[in-house]
């Protein structure tokens, strides 16, 4: 244990040292000055594809390296991401950028990534936010949670306004996109007793399956000990066409979702 603590302390000191050294120039702005600049985004795309995509994937959704389309949604900041690209992550494959890489180039790559991740200026909300929240409560909150309120079968949407562009949300809500997210695929388990469990699949392997059932109980099942496991590689999210959600309600809903940028302690 002492060894671990000592190693941790040394690592902390080393990390701190790196931080001090790297902060010395302090010239880099704390927010990306090139966000929304089409030329910068274009240049950033080229750099991303040649230098980063090998590990993070052409669509930045992650291969060996993590998914970069979710980083702002998960709370990272421009400043923090800039530092990660500049310094790398010691002890991992993420390298520091070389001395010849300019701050401007890093901001260009981040500006490009932002186009994959976050709403842009053209996403200006046009609907009624209060009405949109009512729509959300009526239609979505059974499965989706915002700031600790709502269901858990679908992804938590507390930061969706920072995470998804309006167009992507429309496609998902209207069911135009055949996509799924691991952890949210519908699963039906028939026990030997005949009892049927429905829910979403949180994890699985050859021998077991882990679910959040429709009553929001998390539970694992051994495949040999149940009668049947039905799995489908689709999203459990239903399609809301205009008969279920009018254009006006959709517009209001999107306006409300655009305001969700993080956990809001005021929501009771």
């Amino acid at each position: 244990m002492r060894t671990i603590l000592a190693a941790t302390a040394i690592a902390a000191c080393l990390g701190g040292g790196t931080l001090l050294r790297a902060q010395a120039p302090a010239a880099a702005p704390r927010t990306n000055p090139l966000v929304g600049d089409p030329a910068a985004e274009q240049a950033g795309m080229g750099m991303f594809r040649s230098r980063c995509a090998d590990c993070h994937g052409m669509d930045a959704r992650g291969v060996r390296g993590p998914d970069l389309t979710q980083v702002w949604a998960s709370g990272r900041t421009d400043d923090g991401l800039f530092r990660t690209v500049r310094r790398g992550i010691p002890g991992t494959e993420m390298p520091a950028s070389n001395a010849r890489t300019t701050d401007d180039e890093i901001w260009k790559v981040l500006a490009y990534l932002r186009t994959l991740a976050a709403p842009t200026a053209v996403d200006a909300p046009a609907g009624d936010v209060a009405s949109g929240e009512r729509v959300f409560r009526a239609q979505c909150a059974g499965c989706h949670r915002v700031s600790g309120r709502g269901g858990r079968l679908g992804p938590d949407l507390s930061r969706i306004g920072a995470a998804r562009a309006r167009g992507a949300l429309v496609r998902r809500i209207r069911g135009a996109e055949e996509d799924w997210i691991d952890g949210y695929e519908p699963v039906t388990i028939t026990l030997k007793s005949g009892q049927v469990i429905r829910g979403v699949k949180k994890n699985a392997d050859l021998f077991s399956v882990q679910v959040l059932d429709n009553r929001e109980r998390i539970q694992g099942y051994i495949r040999d000990e149940v009668r049947e496991v039905q799995e489908r590689r689709v999203s459990a999210m239903p399609a809301f066409d205009v008969t279920r959600l009018s254009e006006r309600d959709l517009n209001d809903l999107l306006s409300y979702l655009a305001t969700l940028k993080g956990f809001d302690p005021r929501v009771q």
Partner: protein, 549 residues
């Protein structure tokens, strides 16, 4: 008694021994020196040792031990678990000698571990510099041993000799400058008085090589560049100056044929990985099997699996040597399941191709012509728009070791079924920076998703005999035994024991992390057969209880 000076010295020495032993815990097992003869024996029925990467020079990963059987394997019990307490996962093959385990881990930490208790005897930790360029994980694949020394390569491209009893550095040789993209991760092998290693960095514009170092002094004995220099045969297979930064690393251990005194090593991808126009030509000796004289490093022959590769199909898989009857004739062969999706059997005396057959879905080529060259399908050169090819970048298999059962003449491989869209861009070479010229996107849709399979292949024909499918691809190596056990893992952390005759699942255990790039090893300890499983950051020893043996 008169106390003369020599007697005083003796007494003082004795006192210090007595006082030391009073303070020390009970003596740890004492490792004996490793001889060339010990290594040549491979995994014999005595079974107390595992002294070289593949178990034997031929890389069979086949143990003659018989205590654990299909009938009793389900009664295996954990004996102890060793944790690395470091970042990163094991890819190592543990060496076993006289009740002591010699283990390399991630971040170039290494240990001697008491095989009876799982307790550390010593620990070596390398102080790694900033700015490492190791492509694909800060990993290490194992030690080699000779005499009282262990040999380990490092992520900053050195070769170290460590004292087996203390873990102290006996010598430290520089392979190349890590700042220019060189790294090293493979397990060395010892041949006679030399330590054989290779260098990684195929994604960083290196010029790859295989080196031999004198095991006593650390002095370099020879170097074989995997890319011929100017004026040498093969150099013209690289357009312009591209040979200077053509990659072709060697990051997986090869085989050694004592009878011919030849080394067999698979070589890595040419660089930049995906951008064809940057390096027109066959790009020798990338994606090849190179066969070298073990004393001099002279190239005897080569076979290029993937001429002018543009999909990162390194031939850095583990070659296996074995004798097979093919069309009624006994042949000395080298067997090779390649990342490009083809399984190959070559005559290891002359390089003649005997068998070549896809063992997974391949779309870039469907067959190999009689001259041994792949017959390319059109439309599989990556560009800015992207083209889809099977297998994907990770390949039909990869560096995780296969196994060969010399009794049944069966070859076992962990296969992957996956396709990817490959993109290419013209890259600029900057020393020490990634130089791949593109990327891939794995095809993963509702209808098409990657999966894995453990496959048994008849190496005399390339035919599949059985398969055990896993829902996601596995990166585990394979160990087989004389009791028809096949030990491996799936992609979800399950340790799997299959019947090597049929592929039937006999036993499983969820290790909590997948076996990655390596297989278990097995050995006898105090009359009990042990199985040592590296998974994630843990190493767990298993054996049967007395009543089950």
């Amino acid at each position: 008694m008169r106390l003369t000076l020599p007697r005083l010295v003796t007494l003082a020495a004795l006192c210090s021994v007595v006082s030391l032993s009073a303070q020390q815990p009970p003596a740890a097992p004492v490792p004996g020196p490793v001889s060339n003869q010990d290594i040549l024996k491979g995994l014999d029925t005595d079974g107390a040792n595992w002294l070289t990467f593949g178990g034997n020079y031929e890389n069979h990963r086949f143990s003659p031990l018989t205590q654990i059987t299909p009938e009793n394997v389900g009664r295996l019990q954990p004996q102890w678990t060793f944790q690395t307490n470091t970042l990163g996962a094991f890819e190592t093959t543990t060496l076993v000698r006289d009740n002591v385990l010699y283990v390399t881990g991630p971040q170039n930490v290494a240990w001697a571990v008491d095989a009876r208790s799982g307790r550390q005897i010593w620990r070596y930790r390398r102080e790694l510099p900033d700015g490492l360029t190791a492509c694909c994980g800060l990993v290490n694949r194992g030690f080699a041993a000779l005499g009282d020394k262990l040999f380990m390569v490092t992520l900053d491209a050195h070769l170290l000799a460590l004292d087996m009893k203390t873990g102290a550095i006996a010598w430290d040789a520089v392979l190349e400058n890590y700042r220019n993209g060189y790294a090293a991760t493979l397990a060395p092998i010892v041949v006679k008085d030399k330590v054989i290693v290779g260098v990684a960095g195929g994604e960083f514009g290196i010029r790859g090589f295989i080196d031999a170092y004198d095991a006593q002094s650390g002095k370099r004995a020879w170097r074989f560049y995997t890319i011929p220099g100017q004026g040498e045969a093969g150099n013209s297979t690289w357009s312009g100056e591209s040979w200077k930064v053509g990659g072709t690393g060697v990051w997986v251990t090869g085989a050694y044929d004592p009878e011919q005194n030849l080394l067999f090593y698979g070589t890595g991808n040419p660089g930049p990985d995906y951008h064809s126009a940057s390096r027109e030509g066959d790009n020798l000796y990338s994606c090849s099997l190179v066969v070298l004289d073990a004393d001099t490093g002279t190239l005897k022959w080569h076979y290029q699996f993937t001429p002018h590769d543009v999909h990162d199909y390194d031939a850095t898989e583990v070659p296996i040597l074995g004798d097979l009857t093919i069309n009624g004739q006994l042949r000395k062969t080298v067997m090779f399941a390649n990342r490009n999706g083809f399984y190959y059997t070559l005559d290891r005396t002359n390089g003649r191709l005997l068998v070549a057959k896809p063992f997974v879905q391949t779309t870039w080529a469907k067959q190999i012509d009689p001259q041994g060259r792949p017959m390319l399908e059109p439309g599989h050169t990556p560009d800015e728009k992207g083209e889809t090819t099977c297998p994907d970048l990770t390949g039909g298999t990869n560096f995780w070791p296969p196994s060969f059962d010399p009794r049944t003449k069966m070859f076992f491989v962990t296969a992957r079924e996956a396709c990817a869209t490959f993109y290419a861009y013209k890259p600029e070479y900057v020393p020490g920076q990634r130089f791949t010229g593109g990327a891939q996107q794995v095809v993963n849709t509702r209808d098409v998703r990657p999966y894995g399979a453990i496959r048994a292949i008849d190496p005399a024909t390339g035919e599949r005999k059985w398969e055990y499918v896993t829902p996601t691809p596995s990166r585990a190596g394979i160990l087989t035994t004389a009791t028809n056990l096949l030990m491996t893992g799936d992609g979800e952390g399950n340790f799997l024991v299959l019947d090597s005759r049929t592929g039937k699942l006999l036993w499983r255990y969820q290790m909590g992390s997948a076996l990655h790039g390596t297989s278990p090893v097995t050995y006898m300890l105090d009359g009990r057969q042990h199985v040592l499983i590296p998974a994630g950051t843990s190493l767990t020893a298993w054996a049967l209880p007395a009543e089950a043996r």
